[in-house]
Symmetry: C2
């Protein structure tokens, strides 16, 4: 139950569902399933039979090379979709694996098709979620290409902090991140050893502290400034209580939209 709230909480930053939409989404979340840590949900290149909403727990999407080297593309947090592209792409472009025990809602690609056909505002919401994810990837790409290790690590955890806060899982700068150094290294294109040293430097600079799985952002403004964190894509600019999309689509928009 708590997991579903997370999903709606995130969605709510974009749109307030109508009763009909709510009913549809409730159906979408009906088939729930628990799974353990380190379970494989999707394998890169293999068929892509289902999509998920992550309701509780952490997961990652990742790609591997034949050499065994691995890149984590993004972290999946409660409220996020996993493999939403199933209905338009036959093979999964990346693998997905749980990091912790998770609660997942599973639905067939046909559900997405039906949503497109019958729930245009939810289709817009899906596009929003997708655009958000693409913005994460773009920001990460900037990190890997052009930021030094210390900024990569800093920016990464600032992003996660804000994402967790949006779904009520972090506040006051401290949160639990079930990532070990290997995960962080694979997410940031670094070696585990160097990530370890980098945490040392962040601690020394009184910016960020990691103790086990507990991350404390010691100086959020300084860290955001240093790493040029731009939370634009997080919807932070939308005033509380307002949403980007209003119900229903306005007649003006539809008259001569081109």
């Amino acid at each position: 139950m708590a997991g579903e709230e997370r999903f709606f909480q995130k969605l709510n930053a974009f749109l307030e569902p109508s009763p009909k939409e709510l009913a549809f989404l409730t159906q979408l979340l009906k088939r729930q399933r628990q799974c353990a840590a380190n379970e494989t949900l999707l394998v890169q290149g293999e068929s892509h039979p289902a999509s998920f909403v992550l309701l509780d727990g952490w997961a990652v999407r990742h790609k591997a090379l034949a050499s065994g080297r691995r890149q984590i593309l993004n972290v999946i947090l409660p409220g996020d979709f996993i493999g939403l592209e199933a209905h338009v792409i036959a093979q999964a472009p990346a693998s997905a694996t749980t990091l912790t025990a998770c609660t997942l809602a599973e639905f067939r690609p046909a559900a997405t098709i039906r949503m497109l056909a019958e729930q245009p505002r939810l289709a817009a919401a899906v596009l929003w979620a997708t655009a958000r994810e693409e913005a994460f990837l773009g920001e990460r790409l900037l990190s890997l290409g052009r930021r030094p290790a210390i900024d990569r690590v800093g920016n990464f955890f600032v992003e996660i902090y804000h994402r967790l806060r949006l779904v009520g899982l972090a506040d006051g700068g401290t949160f639990v991140a079930p990532l070990n150094l290997d995960h962080i290294a694979d997410a940031l294109g670094l070696s585990m050893v160097h990530v370890s040293r980098t945490f040392g430097r962040l601690r020394h600079a009184k910016l960020l502290l990691r103790r086990g799985q507990s991350i404390s952002i010691l100086d959020l403004p300084a860290l955001e400034k240093r790493t040029e964190f731009d939370g634009l894509y997080l919807g932070r600019r939308i005033p509380v209580g307002e949403r980007y999309l209003r119900a229903p689509f306005s007649a003006d928009d539809l008259k001569d939209p081109f």
Copy 2:
């Protein structure tokens, strides 16, 4: 005209438009505009008033840091959307700039809203295009994080080659890429100097040859294998003449989709 063909050629890998859909898309492409090389279409963080279809020419999406360092997120080729997320996101997550003189079709965000409301199969096509782009970003992320310079460059041009081929702009392994070393460096997270040396090594290995803006892939199979290129997301697995989506949505899919 030729430019529009490119758009339909790409779309056709996913779906064959019905007459009604064709009419809608024709409307979408109606407001065309020429623009010069090095023109700015979108600025990261600023408002996002329009979306485009690139009909002719090359462009890039990129993000910059205060230090002046820059990351090119992806290359935009004829047939691709630019800033399709305008209707769901207020600020552009990245800048977009033309590399050559371009022909663009421009449309307002409301057109996307209308498409979602009235053309569900086109909405699916948009999701497909978006998923494809996300797959590009994921592959690039893998490159920047875990591939050595020579594989980054190789994989990059193999991807571009296949994308150009899909819209009829490359064949036989040779094509024109209006990218200078700085662009390539910024796309791959390398320095210009190192990219230059890397082309030397690729030439020496008889894999790839760059002469001015002309790129010749000398040994495509070898390069694909070496760089572990997986064209899954390019739709190559879809048999010619077949498409992923059939018209219309099947009744079976809609009956009990969850």
